[in-house]
Protein backbone atom coordinates (compact mmCIF):
# COMPACT_ATOMS: atom_id res chain seq x y z
CA UNK A 1 0.00 0.00 0.00
CA UNK A 2 2.89 2.34 0.75
CA UNK A 3 5.19 0.96 -1.93
CA UNK A 4 4.92 4.29 -3.77
CA UNK A 5 7.07 5.78 -1.01
CA UNK A 6 9.98 3.59 -1.97
CA UNK A 7 10.57 4.26 -5.64
CA UNK A 8 13.71 3.35 -7.51
CA UNK A 9 16.23 6.02 -8.52
CA UNK A 10 15.07 5.54 -12.12
CA UNK A 11 11.47 6.34 -11.18
CA UNK A 12 12.69 9.33 -9.20
CA UNK A 13 14.45 10.66 -12.28
CA UNK A 14 11.18 10.70 -14.23
CA UNK A 15 10.06 13.99 -12.72
CA UNK A 16 13.55 15.44 -12.48
CA UNK A 17 15.31 16.41 -9.29
CA UNK A 18 13.61 19.77 -8.75
CA UNK A 19 11.26 20.11 -5.81
CA UNK A 20 7.70 21.39 -6.21
CA UNK A 21 7.64 24.55 -8.19
CA UNK A 22 6.84 27.87 -6.54
CA UNK A 23 6.38 28.75 -2.93
CA UNK A 24 4.29 25.75 -1.88
CA UNK A 25 6.68 24.34 0.76
CA UNK A 26 6.91 27.81 2.25
CA UNK A 27 3.14 28.24 2.23
CA UNK A 28 2.79 24.90 3.99
CA UNK A 29 5.48 25.95 6.50
CA UNK A 30 3.56 29.15 7.29
CA UNK A 31 0.30 27.22 7.62
CA UNK A 32 1.95 24.67 9.87
CA UNK A 33 3.47 27.43 12.00
CA UNK A 34 0.11 29.19 12.39
CA UNK A 35 -1.80 25.96 13.02
CA UNK A 36 0.64 24.96 15.78
CA UNK A 37 0.37 28.31 17.55
CA UNK A 38 -3.40 28.43 17.31
CA UNK A 39 -3.75 24.82 18.39
CA UNK A 40 -1.44 25.43 21.38
CA UNK A 41 -3.55 28.45 22.35
CA UNK A 42 -6.75 26.45 21.97
CA UNK A 43 -5.43 23.60 24.11
CA UNK A 44 -4.18 26.03 26.76
CA UNK A 45 -7.59 27.73 26.78
CA UNK A 46 -9.29 24.38 27.18
CA UNK A 47 -7.03 23.53 30.10
CA UNK A 48 -7.57 26.96 31.65
CA UNK A 49 -11.32 26.53 31.42
CA UNK A 50 -11.04 23.06 32.91
CA UNK A 51 -8.84 24.24 35.81
CA UNK A 52 -11.10 27.22 36.47
CA UNK A 53 -14.26 25.21 36.26
CA UNK A 54 -12.88 22.56 38.61
CA UNK A 55 -11.72 25.17 41.12
CA UNK A 56 -15.07 26.93 41.44
CA UNK A 57 -17.39 24.00 41.02
CA UNK A 58 -18.17 23.73 44.76
CA UNK A 59 -17.46 27.30 45.85
CA UNK A 60 -20.18 29.70 46.94
CA UNK A 61 -20.49 33.23 48.28
CA UNK A 62 -23.07 34.54 50.77
CA UNK A 63 -24.00 38.16 50.27
CA UNK A 64 -25.25 39.81 53.44
CA UNK A 65 -26.76 43.21 52.61
CA UNK A 66 -27.13 44.30 56.19
CA UNK A 67 -23.41 44.40 56.72
CA UNK A 68 -21.16 42.80 59.28
CA UNK A 69 -23.46 42.75 62.34
CA UNK A 70 -24.46 39.10 62.07
CA UNK A 71 -21.43 37.98 60.11
CA UNK A 72 -19.75 35.77 62.73
CA UNK A 73 -23.02 34.01 63.54
CA UNK A 74 -23.65 33.32 59.87
CA UNK A 75 -20.13 31.94 59.41
CA UNK A 76 -20.70 29.59 62.36
CA UNK A 77 -24.02 28.41 60.90
CA UNK A 78 -22.41 27.71 57.55
CA UNK A 79 -19.46 25.86 59.09
CA UNK A 80 -21.79 23.71 61.13
CA UNK A 81 -23.83 22.67 58.09
CA UNK A 82 -23.17 19.12 56.92
CA UNK A 83 -21.00 18.92 53.78
CA UNK A 84 -19.37 22.33 54.22
CA UNK A 85 -15.60 22.05 54.07
CA UNK A 86 -14.65 25.62 54.90
CA UNK A 87 -16.16 29.08 55.31
CA UNK A 88 -14.43 32.45 55.67
CA UNK A 89 -15.78 35.96 55.87
CA UNK A 90 -14.13 38.37 53.50
CA UNK A 91 -12.60 41.14 55.63
CA UNK A 92 -14.20 44.54 55.15
CA UNK A 93 -10.85 46.08 54.21
CA UNK A 94 -10.56 43.64 51.32
CA UNK A 95 -14.06 44.56 50.20
CA UNK A 96 -13.20 48.24 50.35
CA UNK A 97 -9.90 47.63 48.54
CA UNK A 98 -11.86 45.91 45.78
CA UNK A 99 -14.43 48.71 45.63
CA UNK A 100 -11.59 51.26 45.48
CA UNK A 101 -10.77 50.05 42.02
CA UNK A 102 -14.04 51.55 40.83
CA UNK A 103 -14.82 54.21 43.43
CA UNK A 104 -11.36 55.49 44.29
CA UNK A 105 -10.80 57.00 47.77
CA UNK A 106 -14.59 57.20 48.29
CA UNK A 107 -14.51 53.48 48.91
CA UNK A 108 -12.90 54.14 52.31
CA UNK A 109 -15.74 56.41 53.43
CA UNK A 110 -17.69 55.25 56.48
CA UNK A 111 -20.80 56.58 54.77
CA UNK A 112 -20.50 53.94 52.13
CA UNK A 113 -22.49 50.81 53.12
CA UNK A 114 -20.29 47.84 52.31
CA UNK A 115 -22.07 44.49 52.02
CA UNK A 116 -20.57 41.63 53.93
CA UNK A 117 -19.39 38.57 52.00
CA UNK A 118 -18.70 35.01 53.13
CA UNK A 119 -17.02 32.46 50.91
CA UNK A 120 -17.60 28.78 51.59
CA UNK A 121 -16.76 25.51 49.92
CA UNK A 122 -18.85 22.38 50.03
CA UNK A 123 -17.77 18.82 49.54
CA UNK A 124 -20.87 18.09 47.53
CA UNK A 125 -23.12 16.79 50.28
CA UNK A 126 -24.21 20.20 51.53
CA UNK A 127 -27.87 21.16 51.23
CA UNK A 128 -27.97 24.72 49.95
CA UNK A 129 -31.72 25.24 50.68
CA UNK A 130 -31.16 24.32 54.35
CA UNK A 131 -28.12 26.61 54.62
CA UNK A 132 -30.07 29.37 52.87
CA UNK A 133 -32.97 28.96 55.29
CA UNK A 134 -30.71 29.15 58.38
CA UNK A 135 -28.88 32.21 57.01
CA UNK A 136 -32.20 33.91 56.28
CA UNK A 137 -33.18 33.45 59.91
CA UNK A 138 -30.10 35.42 60.99
CA UNK A 139 -29.97 37.95 58.17
CA UNK A 140 -33.10 38.35 56.06
CA UNK A 141 -32.13 39.27 52.50
CA UNK A 142 -28.86 37.32 52.58
CA UNK A 143 -28.47 35.06 49.54
CA UNK A 144 -26.14 32.35 48.33
CA UNK A 145 -24.45 32.84 44.97
CA UNK A 146 -22.63 29.95 43.25
CA UNK A 147 -19.22 31.04 41.94
CA UNK A 148 -19.84 28.98 38.81
CA UNK A 149 -22.83 31.22 38.00
CA UNK A 150 -20.64 34.32 38.32
CA UNK A 151 -17.89 32.87 36.16
CA UNK A 152 -20.22 31.26 33.60
CA UNK A 153 -19.89 34.12 31.07
CA UNK A 154 -16.09 33.82 31.27
CA UNK A 155 -16.25 30.06 30.76
CA UNK A 156 -18.62 30.57 27.86
CA UNK A 157 -16.15 33.02 26.33
CA UNK A 158 -13.34 30.51 26.78
CA UNK A 159 -15.46 27.85 25.08
CA UNK A 160 -16.16 30.19 22.19
CA UNK A 161 -12.44 30.93 21.87
CA UNK A 162 -11.71 27.20 21.77
CA UNK A 163 -14.25 26.75 18.99
CA UNK A 164 -12.70 29.71 17.15
CA UNK A 165 -9.23 28.18 17.54
CA UNK A 166 -10.48 24.83 16.27
CA UNK A 167 -12.20 26.56 13.36
CA UNK A 168 -9.02 28.45 12.50
CA UNK A 169 -7.03 25.20 12.52
CA UNK A 170 -9.55 23.70 10.09
CA UNK A 171 -9.54 26.85 7.96
CA UNK A 172 -5.75 26.96 7.74
CA UNK A 173 -5.65 23.25 6.96
CA UNK A 174 -8.13 23.86 4.14
CA UNK A 175 -5.99 26.74 2.87
CA UNK A 176 -2.90 24.50 2.95
CA UNK A 177 -4.85 21.84 1.06
CA UNK A 178 -5.87 24.43 -1.54
CA UNK A 179 -2.23 25.48 -1.94
CA UNK A 180 -1.29 21.84 -2.49
CA UNK A 181 -4.02 21.44 -5.14
CA UNK A 182 -2.64 24.47 -6.99
CA UNK A 183 0.90 23.11 -6.67
CA UNK A 184 -0.20 19.69 -7.92
CA UNK A 185 -1.88 21.25 -10.94
CA UNK A 186 1.21 23.34 -11.60
CA UNK A 187 3.41 20.26 -11.37
CA UNK A 188 1.09 18.42 -13.77
CA UNK A 189 1.35 21.29 -16.24
CA UNK A 190 5.14 21.32 -15.92
CA UNK A 191 5.37 17.59 -16.52
CA UNK A 192 2.49 17.31 -19.01
CA UNK A 193 4.78 16.02 -21.73
CA UNK A 194 6.28 13.31 -19.51
CA UNK A 195 2.78 12.26 -18.44
CA UNK A 196 1.60 12.05 -22.05
CA UNK A 197 4.58 9.88 -22.96
CA UNK A 198 4.02 7.65 -19.95
CA UNK A 199 0.32 7.27 -20.73
CA UNK A 200 1.22 6.56 -24.33
CA UNK A 201 3.39 3.60 -23.40
CA UNK A 202 0.81 2.18 -21.04
CA UNK A 203 1.37 3.77 -17.64
CA UNK A 204 -1.74 3.80 -15.48
CA UNK A 205 -3.04 6.90 -13.73
CA UNK A 206 -1.99 5.36 -10.44
CA UNK A 207 1.61 4.89 -11.62
CA UNK A 208 1.79 8.54 -12.67
CA UNK A 209 0.04 9.70 -9.50
CA UNK A 210 2.50 7.86 -7.27
CA UNK A 211 5.38 9.87 -8.73
CA UNK A 212 3.68 13.17 -7.88
CA UNK A 213 2.31 11.94 -4.58
CA UNK A 214 5.75 11.05 -3.30
CA UNK A 215 7.22 14.35 -4.46
CA UNK A 216 4.43 16.35 -2.83
CA UNK A 217 4.70 14.31 0.36
CA UNK A 218 8.39 15.18 0.65
CA UNK A 219 7.78 18.88 0.05
CA UNK A 220 4.77 18.98 2.39
CA UNK A 221 6.72 17.16 5.09
CA UNK A 222 9.65 19.56 4.83
CA UNK A 223 7.27 22.55 4.91
CA UNK A 224 5.12 21.37 7.80
CA UNK A 225 8.02 20.21 9.94
CA UNK A 226 9.88 23.49 9.34
CA UNK A 227 6.75 25.43 10.36
CA UNK A 228 6.22 23.15 13.35
CA UNK A 229 9.78 23.63 14.60
CA UNK A 230 9.49 27.40 14.22
CA UNK A 231 6.18 27.37 16.12
CA UNK A 232 7.69 25.28 18.93
CA UNK A 233 10.53 27.79 19.18
CA UNK A 234 8.11 30.70 19.40
CA UNK A 235 6.00 28.94 22.05
CA UNK A 236 9.06 28.23 24.16
CA UNK A 237 10.23 31.80 23.73
CA UNK A 238 6.85 33.30 24.62
CA UNK A 239 6.29 31.07 27.58
CA UNK A 240 9.73 31.50 29.04
CA UNK A 241 11.45 28.21 28.47
CA UNK A 242 10.69 25.55 31.05
CA UNK A 243 7.93 27.63 32.64
CA UNK A 244 5.97 27.13 29.46
CA UNK A 245 4.80 23.70 30.43
CA UNK A 246 3.28 24.77 33.68
CA UNK A 247 2.39 28.38 33.41
CA UNK A 248 1.05 28.98 29.97
CA UNK A 249 -2.06 31.10 30.09
CA UNK A 250 -2.20 31.72 33.79
CA UNK A 251 -1.61 28.43 35.45
CA UNK A 252 -3.15 26.05 32.98
CA UNK A 253 -0.80 23.32 31.90
CA UNK A 254 -0.16 21.74 28.54
CA UNK A 255 -0.12 18.05 29.35
CA UNK A 256 1.68 15.23 27.65
CA UNK A 257 -1.39 14.52 25.50
CA UNK A 258 -1.40 18.17 24.39
CA UNK A 259 2.26 17.94 23.41
CA UNK A 260 1.59 14.74 21.48
CA UNK A 261 -1.32 16.43 19.67
CA UNK A 262 0.88 19.40 18.79
CA UNK A 263 3.69 17.14 17.60
CA UNK A 264 1.27 15.20 15.40
CA UNK A 265 -0.11 18.30 13.70
CA UNK A 266 2.74 18.61 11.14
CA UNK A 267 2.39 14.90 10.40
CA UNK A 268 -1.37 15.31 9.97
CA UNK A 269 -0.82 18.31 7.71
CA UNK A 270 1.64 16.29 5.60
CA UNK A 271 -0.82 13.41 5.27
CA UNK A 272 -3.63 15.82 4.39
CA UNK A 273 -1.48 17.46 1.71
CA UNK A 274 -0.50 14.09 0.26
CA UNK A 275 -4.09 12.84 0.19
CA UNK A 276 -5.34 16.06 -1.39
CA UNK A 277 -2.54 15.94 -3.98
CA UNK A 278 -3.42 12.35 -4.84
CA UNK A 279 -7.09 13.24 -5.41
CA UNK A 280 -6.15 16.36 -7.41
CA UNK A 281 -3.70 14.49 -9.65
CA UNK A 282 -6.03 11.53 -10.23
CA UNK A 283 -8.86 13.90 -11.16
CA UNK A 284 -6.66 15.89 -13.52
CA UNK A 285 -5.32 12.73 -15.18
CA UNK A 286 -8.82 11.36 -15.70
CA UNK A 287 -9.55 14.32 -17.98
CA UNK A 288 -7.03 13.00 -20.52
CA UNK A 289 -7.66 9.95 -22.70
Amino acid sequence: MLDWLFVTPAERRLLGTARLGGPTPWVIAIMSFSIMLIAASGLALANTASVLSGAIQARYAVEVPAGAASLDAIVRVIRSAPGVVSAQAVPEREMRATLAKWLGPEAQSDDLPVPALINFESSGGASLPIIQKRIQELAPGARIVAHRDSVAPLLRSLSVLQVVAFGLVLLLSAAAAAAVVLAARGALDTHRFTIEVMHGIGATDLQVTHLFQRKILIDAFIGSVTGGIAAAGVLLLLAGGAAFAGELTGGATLGIVDFIILALLPVALTLLATWVARIAVLRALSEAL
Binding site: T8, A10, E11, R13, L14, G16, F193, T194, E196, V197, M198, H199, G200, I201, G202, A203, T204, D205, Q207, S286, A288, L289
Partner: protein, 235 residues
Protein backbone atom coordinates in the same frame (compact mmCIF):
# COMPACT_ATOMS: atom_id res chain seq x y z
CA UNK B 1 -6.32 -14.76 -40.08
CA UNK B 2 -7.01 -12.80 -36.88
CA UNK B 3 -7.05 -9.04 -37.11
CA UNK B 4 -4.96 -6.84 -34.84
CA UNK B 5 -7.18 -3.87 -35.68
CA UNK B 6 -10.60 -3.56 -37.26
CA UNK B 7 -12.06 -0.23 -38.37
CA UNK B 8 -15.75 -0.12 -39.11
CA UNK B 9 -17.15 3.12 -40.66
CA UNK B 10 -14.74 5.13 -38.56
CA UNK B 11 -14.78 8.92 -38.65
CA UNK B 12 -12.77 11.45 -36.68
CA UNK B 13 -13.13 15.16 -36.20
CA UNK B 14 -11.29 17.48 -33.81
CA UNK B 15 -13.68 19.71 -31.87
CA UNK B 16 -16.30 21.17 -34.14
CA UNK B 17 -14.10 21.12 -37.24
CA UNK B 18 -14.64 19.10 -40.40
CA UNK B 19 -13.98 15.36 -40.32
CA UNK B 20 -10.31 14.59 -40.86
CA UNK B 21 -11.04 10.89 -41.31
CA UNK B 22 -14.18 9.55 -42.98
CA UNK B 23 -15.74 6.15 -43.41
CA UNK B 24 -12.65 4.08 -42.77
CA UNK B 25 -13.33 0.36 -43.15
CA UNK B 26 -10.37 -1.97 -43.00
CA UNK B 27 -8.68 -4.74 -41.02
CA UNK B 28 -5.00 -5.04 -40.14
CA UNK B 29 -4.12 -8.71 -40.12
CA UNK B 30 -1.98 -10.01 -37.29
CA UNK B 31 1.63 -10.35 -38.33
CA UNK B 32 1.36 -8.23 -41.47
CA UNK B 33 3.44 -5.25 -42.53
CA UNK B 34 1.65 -2.11 -43.72
CA UNK B 35 2.76 1.17 -45.16
CA UNK B 36 0.42 4.10 -44.71
CA UNK B 37 0.93 6.66 -47.42
CA UNK B 38 -0.76 9.77 -48.68
CA UNK B 39 -0.11 13.45 -49.13
CA UNK B 40 0.47 15.77 -46.20
CA UNK B 41 -2.81 16.50 -44.43
CA UNK B 42 -4.42 13.31 -45.69
CA UNK B 43 -4.97 12.10 -42.12
CA UNK B 44 -2.10 9.63 -41.68
CA UNK B 45 -1.10 10.86 -38.22
CA UNK B 46 -4.77 10.97 -37.12
CA UNK B 47 -5.25 7.39 -38.26
CA UNK B 48 -2.14 6.34 -36.32
CA UNK B 49 -3.48 8.14 -33.22
CA UNK B 50 -6.61 6.02 -33.43
CA UNK B 51 -4.42 2.93 -33.69
CA UNK B 52 -2.30 3.70 -30.65
CA UNK B 53 -5.31 4.86 -28.58
CA UNK B 54 -4.41 8.54 -28.37
CA UNK B 55 -7.81 9.42 -29.86
CA UNK B 56 -11.28 7.97 -29.85
CA UNK B 57 -13.20 7.97 -33.12
CA UNK B 58 -16.12 10.38 -33.26
CA UNK B 59 -18.13 7.75 -35.12
CA UNK B 60 -17.83 4.16 -36.16
CA UNK B 61 -16.24 1.32 -34.24
CA UNK B 62 -12.67 0.22 -33.63
CA UNK B 63 -11.53 -3.18 -32.39
CA UNK B 64 -7.94 -3.69 -31.22
CA UNK B 65 -6.58 -7.12 -30.41
CA UNK B 66 -10.10 -8.44 -30.77
CA UNK B 67 -11.54 -6.06 -28.16
CA UNK B 68 -14.11 -3.39 -28.89
CA UNK B 69 -12.49 -0.23 -27.53
CA UNK B 70 -14.55 2.54 -29.13
CA UNK B 71 -16.40 3.36 -25.94
CA UNK B 72 -14.35 1.36 -23.47
CA UNK B 73 -13.49 3.19 -20.25
CA UNK B 74 -10.08 4.85 -20.37
CA UNK B 75 -8.92 2.77 -17.39
CA UNK B 76 -8.92 -0.27 -19.69
CA UNK B 77 -6.45 1.29 -22.15
CA UNK B 78 -3.04 0.85 -20.41
CA UNK B 79 -2.78 -2.93 -20.94
CA UNK B 80 -3.56 -2.42 -24.64
CA UNK B 81 -1.09 0.44 -24.96
CA UNK B 82 1.65 -1.78 -23.54
CA UNK B 83 1.07 -4.09 -26.49
CA UNK B 84 1.67 -1.22 -28.93
CA UNK B 85 5.00 0.40 -29.75
CA UNK B 86 4.88 3.90 -31.18
CA UNK B 87 7.56 5.87 -33.03
CA UNK B 88 6.46 9.48 -33.12
CA UNK B 89 7.32 11.91 -35.86
CA UNK B 90 8.66 14.34 -33.25
CA UNK B 91 10.36 11.52 -31.27
CA UNK B 92 8.62 12.44 -27.98
CA UNK B 93 11.68 11.66 -25.88
CA UNK B 94 11.75 12.89 -22.30
CA UNK B 95 14.42 15.58 -22.34
CA UNK B 96 15.69 15.21 -18.77
CA UNK B 97 16.14 11.44 -19.05
CA UNK B 98 19.17 9.76 -20.57
CA UNK B 99 18.86 7.71 -23.76
CA UNK B 100 19.08 4.60 -21.56
CA UNK B 101 16.22 5.74 -19.32
CA UNK B 102 14.08 6.73 -22.30
CA UNK B 103 14.50 3.30 -23.87
CA UNK B 104 13.96 1.56 -20.52
CA UNK B 105 10.72 3.44 -19.81
CA UNK B 106 8.27 0.91 -21.35
CA UNK B 107 9.96 -1.92 -19.43
CA UNK B 108 9.75 0.03 -16.17
CA UNK B 109 6.10 0.91 -16.78
CA UNK B 110 5.46 -2.80 -17.34
CA UNK B 111 7.01 -3.51 -13.95
CA UNK B 112 10.28 -5.14 -15.05
CA UNK B 113 13.04 -5.22 -12.45
CA UNK B 114 16.22 -3.18 -12.95
CA UNK B 115 18.20 -6.40 -13.43
CA UNK B 116 15.89 -7.43 -16.27
CA UNK B 117 16.12 -4.00 -17.86
CA UNK B 118 19.87 -3.40 -18.05
CA UNK B 119 20.75 -6.12 -20.60
CA UNK B 120 17.96 -5.65 -23.14
CA UNK B 121 18.28 -1.86 -23.11
CA UNK B 122 22.07 -1.99 -23.67
CA UNK B 123 21.52 -4.51 -26.43
CA UNK B 124 18.86 -2.38 -28.10
CA UNK B 125 20.98 0.76 -27.88
CA UNK B 126 23.88 -1.14 -29.43
CA UNK B 127 21.63 -2.32 -32.23
CA UNK B 128 20.61 1.21 -33.15
CA UNK B 129 24.26 2.27 -32.93
CA UNK B 130 24.01 4.27 -29.73
CA UNK B 131 25.83 2.03 -27.25
CA UNK B 132 28.27 4.80 -26.40
CA UNK B 133 25.49 7.40 -26.06
CA UNK B 134 23.47 5.60 -23.38
CA UNK B 135 23.91 8.33 -20.79
CA UNK B 136 23.37 11.23 -23.21
CA UNK B 137 20.23 13.28 -22.89
CA UNK B 138 18.06 13.96 -25.96
CA UNK B 139 19.00 17.65 -26.32
CA UNK B 140 22.63 16.59 -26.78
CA UNK B 141 21.74 14.04 -29.49
CA UNK B 142 21.35 14.77 -33.20
CA UNK B 143 17.95 14.40 -34.86
CA UNK B 144 18.92 11.02 -36.27
CA UNK B 145 20.19 9.80 -32.90
CA UNK B 146 16.97 10.92 -31.22
CA UNK B 147 15.01 9.09 -33.89
CA UNK B 148 16.95 5.91 -33.15
CA UNK B 149 16.38 6.26 -29.39
CA UNK B 150 12.66 6.71 -30.11
CA UNK B 151 12.64 3.56 -32.25
CA UNK B 152 14.54 1.61 -29.60
CA UNK B 153 11.97 2.71 -27.01
CA UNK B 154 9.10 1.64 -29.28
CA UNK B 155 10.41 -1.87 -29.90
CA UNK B 156 12.09 -2.69 -26.55
CA UNK B 157 8.92 -4.32 -25.26
CA UNK B 158 8.49 -6.57 -28.32
CA UNK B 159 5.11 -4.98 -29.11
CA UNK B 160 2.37 -6.91 -30.91
CA UNK B 161 1.62 -3.80 -32.96
CA UNK B 162 4.30 -1.31 -33.97
CA UNK B 163 3.11 2.06 -35.26
CA UNK B 164 5.70 4.43 -36.74
CA UNK B 165 5.12 7.92 -38.07
CA UNK B 166 7.82 8.81 -40.61
CA UNK B 167 10.45 6.77 -38.72
CA UNK B 168 13.21 7.29 -41.26
CA UNK B 169 12.65 10.98 -41.81
CA UNK B 170 15.72 12.05 -39.85
CA UNK B 171 18.22 9.31 -40.60
CA UNK B 172 20.52 8.66 -43.52
CA UNK B 173 19.75 5.95 -46.05
CA UNK B 174 22.06 3.42 -44.40
CA UNK B 175 20.40 3.86 -41.01
CA UNK B 176 16.99 3.91 -42.71
CA UNK B 177 17.75 0.50 -44.19
CA UNK B 178 18.93 -0.81 -40.81
CA UNK B 179 15.80 0.46 -39.10
CA UNK B 180 13.55 -1.04 -41.75
CA UNK B 181 15.53 -4.24 -41.29
CA UNK B 182 14.68 -4.11 -37.58
CA UNK B 183 11.02 -3.54 -38.35
CA UNK B 184 11.03 -6.42 -40.81
CA UNK B 185 12.76 -8.67 -38.27
CA UNK B 186 10.15 -7.77 -35.66
CA UNK B 187 7.44 -8.43 -38.22
CA UNK B 188 8.88 -11.88 -38.85
CA UNK B 189 8.65 -12.52 -35.12
CA UNK B 190 4.93 -11.78 -35.30
CA UNK B 191 4.69 -8.05 -34.72
CA UNK B 192 2.19 -6.24 -36.91
CA UNK B 193 3.90 -3.15 -38.30
CA UNK B 194 2.28 0.03 -39.59
CA UNK B 195 4.65 2.65 -41.00
CA UNK B 196 3.43 6.02 -42.19
CA UNK B 197 5.80 7.39 -44.80
CA UNK B 198 6.15 9.55 -47.87
CA UNK B 199 9.16 7.53 -48.99
CA UNK B 200 8.00 5.12 -51.69
CA UNK B 201 11.48 3.63 -51.95
CA UNK B 202 10.92 2.14 -48.49
CA UNK B 203 7.68 0.61 -49.74
CA UNK B 204 9.43 -0.79 -52.77
CA UNK B 205 12.23 -2.20 -50.62
CA UNK B 206 9.90 -4.12 -48.34
CA UNK B 207 8.50 -7.12 -50.16
CA UNK B 208 5.26 -8.47 -48.80
CA UNK B 209 4.30 -5.18 -47.22
CA UNK B 210 0.87 -3.83 -48.01
CA UNK B 211 -0.20 -0.33 -48.77
CA UNK B 212 -2.88 1.80 -47.18
CA UNK B 213 -3.31 5.02 -49.10
CA UNK B 214 -5.20 7.92 -47.60
CA UNK B 215 -6.39 11.00 -49.42
CA UNK B 216 -8.56 13.67 -47.84
CA UNK B 217 -9.25 11.46 -44.85
CA UNK B 218 -10.55 8.45 -46.77
CA UNK B 219 -9.03 5.27 -48.12
CA UNK B 220 -8.29 5.68 -51.80
CA UNK B 221 -9.66 2.28 -52.67
CA UNK B 222 -13.34 2.47 -51.69
CA UNK B 223 -13.60 -1.31 -51.72
CA UNK B 224 -11.49 -1.31 -48.59
CA UNK B 225 -8.90 -3.65 -50.04
CA UNK B 226 -5.35 -2.96 -48.96
CA UNK B 227 -2.64 -4.02 -51.30
CA UNK B 228 0.88 -3.40 -52.31
CA UNK B 229 1.15 -2.99 -56.07
CA UNK B 230 4.47 -4.84 -55.82
CA UNK B 231 3.02 -7.68 -53.78
CA UNK B 232 0.55 -10.45 -54.52
CA UNK B 233 -0.57 -10.54 -50.91
CA UNK B 234 -3.78 -8.63 -50.39
CA UNK B 235 -6.32 -8.24 -47.67
Amino acid sequence: MAAVAEFDSVGLRYGTGAEVLRDLDFRLRTGSFYFLTGPSGAGKTSLLKLLYLAQRPTRGRIKLFGEELTEAPRETFPPFRRRIGVVFQDFRLIRHLSAFDNVALPLRVSGASEEDIEGPVREMLAWVGLADRASARPPTLSGGEQQRVAIARAVINRPELLVADEPTGNVDSEMANRLMGLFTALNRLGTTVVVATHDMTLVAATPGAQLIRLENGTLVDPSGSIRNPRSRDAS
